[in-house]
């Protein structure tokens, strides 16, 4: 492991330098002797799989975590960062993925929250000054908007701009951004990149966490790769290829494989959706899924994919249309769908898929209680046995079935959600973004699992924004646009290009 970043002779002192940072949580070394330097006016990309230590490093940087060991230097002088106030004083600001804006206050109030200019009457705010100040700050980042607009009226990209304006107004010199383009459209991403260039020119340094290889090379001046809490290497984009970076991140050669054994001919029809319309914004949906098939459901975010999944599962009421499952019509709440053999692996695993504070075992058996204990009498040991066998079968990395599920990594949490439906003996698995926030290794395991399920006679309907995944894994796919099915692609027609073409407006 190289000790320092490649430093040229003319390189100035780092604006901020972290040396030998370690942070331990019970049972896990989140950061292990990590050194990290930020130079003035650079974009420093931070790369790593989930659980590599990016978030921990970010939290140490902004004072939210207190490092167990290590030193901080600001312009070459030793400093301490033991609170968020310390970090703020050093000019460090973080733009988290979840914004910390107050929705019912306006932009100006959000920018100066807690630092409002005082009015003449004690306890009041100088309205004219706060608006003028806000306008000035927004002007410096080139964001043209009325500062008296309330934040709840803003889109994600605009809220992000307000966050950045807030940081700039606090004289931030180091801006830490956590996957800032994750929720942005292409056009919004371009605007953000332009802003980043502008901030750079003003000498602001940016620590940028990203999972998108294209961004890393388009924006980065320097790249630090973390893996398992350790700094693996620091490189310049010009000196590496994307493949080399991936290898650093995963520590081995992984060509993302999509294990899939396509069946010669699919089985009988398991799910038939006819003219399904729901008040959630989907209309006249016609879908068919056969045993042994993985059917993709694609389209842009907001095109109604999740709504179709929820309507089939009974989670949202249906206005008209028919859902025929396994030869019989089905209409009712999710408990009926569950009994009949439909499984939903929801998009948001933490808020909709798991009871985070309960144990792995509790979560694994929750949908199968009636099946496992037909007498109605629950038996902890029986639950434990079922869980232990699922943990082995799915290779869930957990110290025991009694571990709190919220403490597992994203990939393992997702396996618990899937395991819950294996225990229930489901026949149709509806996956809504099954690989979101999961590292590459776990992704490929999950695809192997889906493949095995359908090979054994189950069927899967898979929603994914990762078109590569759909193309490699699905037998065929439906593409949605504005709440309707815009088209159907057979295995041969299934290309990223076709998906995009059908999913785009006015195609």
């Amino acid at each position: 492991m190289s000790d320092a970043l490649p430093i040229e002779a003319t390189t100035p002192t780092p604006l901020l330098e972290l040396r030998g940072i370690s942070k331990e949580f019970p049972g896990v070394k989140a950061l292990d002797d990590v050194s990290f330097a930020v130079y003035p006016g650079e974009v420093h990309m931070l790369l790593g799989e989930n659980g590599a230590g990016k978030s921990s490093l970010m939290k140490v940087l902004c004072g939210a975590y207190h490092a167990d060991a290590g030193e901080f230097y600001h312009n070459g002088e030793k400093v301490a960062i033991s609170s968020t106030a310390d970090a703020q004083k050093l000019g460090i600001a973080v733009i988290f993925q979840e914004f910390s804006l107050v929705p019912y206050l306006d932009i100006a109030q959000n920018i100066f929250l807690g630092r409002e200019p005082k009015g003449r009457i004690p306890g009041t705010i100088d309205r004219r000054k706060i608006l003028a100040d806000a306008r000035r700050v927004l002007g410096t980042i080139g964001f043209d908007i009325d500062p008296s607009t309330t934040v709840d009226k803003l889109g994600v990209a605009q809220q992000q701009m307000v966050e950045i304006a807030k940081a700039i107004s606090q004289n931030a010199r180091i801006l830490v951004m956590d996957e800032p383009t994750a929720a942005l459209s292409d056009r919004e991403t371009e605007l953000l990149f332009a802003l980043i260039a502008r901030l750079k020119a003003d000498g602001v340094s940016i620590v940028y966490i990203s999972h998108r290889m294209a961004e890393v090379f388009a924006l980065g001046d320097r790249i630090t790769v973390l893996r398992d809490g350790r700094r693996i290497d620091g490189v310049r984009p010009a000196d590496v290829t994307p493949d080399q970076l991936v290898r650093m991140m995963v520590g081995r050669n992984v060509d993302m494989t999509y294990p899939r054994n396509f069946a010669d001919k699919p089985g009988e029809i398991l799910l038939e959706v006819k003219g399904l319309t729901a008040s959630t914004g989907i209309s006249d949906i016609n879908i068919e899924v056969r045993r042994g098939e993985i059917v993709g459901l694609c389209g842009l975010v907001g095109s109604g994919r999740s709504e179709v999944a929820r309507a089939i599962f009974g989670a949202d009421p249906v206005t008209s249309g028919e859902i025929i499952f396994d030869g019989k019509a089905i209409a009712g709440e999710p408990d009926l769908a569950t009994r009949r053999g439909i499984a939903l692996i929801p998009e948001s695993r933490k808020s909709e898929g798991l009871a985070l504070l309960r144990s792995v075992s509790d979560n694994l058996v929750v949908s199968a209680l009636r099946k496992l204990f037909p007498s109605g009498l629950f038996d902890q040991r029986g639950a434990q046995r079922t869980s232990d066998s699922l943990i082995r079968q799915l290779r869930i990395a957990t110290p025991s079935a009694r571990q709190t599920v919220g403490l597992l990594s994203g990939g393992n949490q997702q396996k618990v959600v899937i395991g819950k439906w294996l225990a229930a003996g489901s026949k149709l698995f509806i996956f809504d973004e099954p690989t979101r926030g999961i590292d590459i290794g776990a992704k490929s395991e999950i695809f192997a699992l889906i493949d095995r399920l359908v090979a054994e006679g189950a069927a899967a309907l898979m929603i994914s924004s990762e078109q590569v995944e759909i193309c490699h894994v699905c037998d065929r796919a439906y593409v949605m646009r504005e709440g309707r099915i815009a088209g159907h692609l057979t295995r041969n027609e299934l290309t990223e290009e076709n998906i995009v073409r059908l999913g785009m407006h006015h195609a």
């Binding site: 019970p26 989670a315 709440e333 009871a355 929750v366 209680l369 571990q403 990939g411």
Partner: protein
């Protein structure tokens, strides 16, 4: 493939579950209070006093046990005390009119259960937050009871009926037997039935519970109906013990029941707690009040002490749980 040891995050939980540890601390606290009271007061350890404590604790426990289930689902039932009053007055009237204690008991239980069911309907079908639904119900029930009783007091019930609240069997008060029975039933229901498991799951994350195929609305109806029925049961014991019923008997019951649930370690956020914990909570609450009586501390201090115990218990819980995670 992923190295399976790579993201093993935390060490396995200790041998005892978190719940067991919390219960152990509570039992210890109850014993400690007993020891202190035994030293400070000669009469504390007398048989009469101990039986009195158990009988008192049982009254709080009946109401609090049903309430525990509601709180496990992250709900609250503020109408339990008012429910006891209405059920007692109606049951008392039925006994007076028909002369049949059995019929009276059934009416009392049914009245309590129906009120609970109505709470459940408000929470599930009308989607009113339980705190508000049952708070409104509290006023409605009070109104009904005051109107129905019109300032009257029901008094004088058959001797056989009065045995329920004040009689003894093999030297133990009959409510204590009932306490043991319902402690057993409640614990079995919560820990050993799939309904109990589903209730914990709903409290831990209602959205995930619904999307895991749990019939959330039906379980909530059940839970509120059980809470109401337990209030109905408490109303019978009260009626029998006091040998009278008035419109205002429920007013001092709800807050102690909530206190017992909280001292017993059930989280108001749902998903965490046990019926047995609530029993110990009721016991601790009763012991402290009993001790203050024995030591001739003015009754005016009792609410203050109750409040401090509740805050202390919840704070200690949060502390130990946070450390455990």
């Amino acid at each position: 493939m992923t190295d399976i040891t790579k993201d093993a995050i935390a060490p396995p939980r200790s041998f005892l579950s978190q719940d067991a540890i919390q219960l152990f601390y509570r039992l210890l606290a109850a014993l400690l209070i007993c020891a202190v009271l035994a030293v400070l007061s000669d009469s504390f350890l007398s048989l009469g006093n101990i039986l009195n404590v158990l009988r008192q604790a049982s009254l709080t426990f009946f109401i609090a046990s049903g309430l525990t289930l509601v709180v496990l689902t992250a709900g609250l039932d503020l109408s339990v005390g008012a429910n006891v009053a209405l059920s007692a007055c109606i049951a008392g009237t039925v006994i007076h009119k028909t002369g049949s204690p059995a019929l009276g008991i059934l009416t009392g239980l049914a009245c309590g259960g129906i009120v609970g069911l109505l709470n459940g309907i408000m929470v599930t079908a009308l989607r009113i937050p339980s705190f508000i639904a049952t708070y409104g119900m509290l006023w409605v029930l009070n109104g009904l009871t005051y109107w129905y009783m019109a300032g009257e007091t029901l008094h004088g019930f058959p001797a056989g009926f009065r045995q329920i609240g004040s009689g003894y069997l093999f030297g133990l008060p009959i409510p204590v037997y009932l306490l043991l029975v319902f402690l057993g039933i409640g614990t079995l229901f919560a820990q050993r039935t799939i309904w109990g498991q589903e209730i914990y799951a709903i409290g831990a994350n209602p959205v995930a519970a619904r999307l895991s195929g749990i019939p959330v609305a039906r379980r909530l109806l059940l839970v509120y109906a059980v809470s109401g029925t337990m209030a109905g049961l408490a109303s019978i014991i009260f009626l029998s013990r006091l040998n009278s019923a008035e419109a205002d008997i429920g007013e001092s019951l709800t807050l102690p029941a909530i206190a017992a649930v909280l001292i017993g370690g059930t989280s108001l956020f749902g998903g965490v707690g046990t019926v047995f914990g609530t029993f110990i909570g009721a016991l601790i609450l009763t012991l402290v009040l009993n001790g203050m009586n024995l030591l001739s501390v003015s009754a005016n201090w009792q609410p203050l002490v109750t409040g401090i115990i509740v805050i202390l218990a919840v704070w200690l819980d949060m502390k130990t749980r946070r450390r455990a995670q």
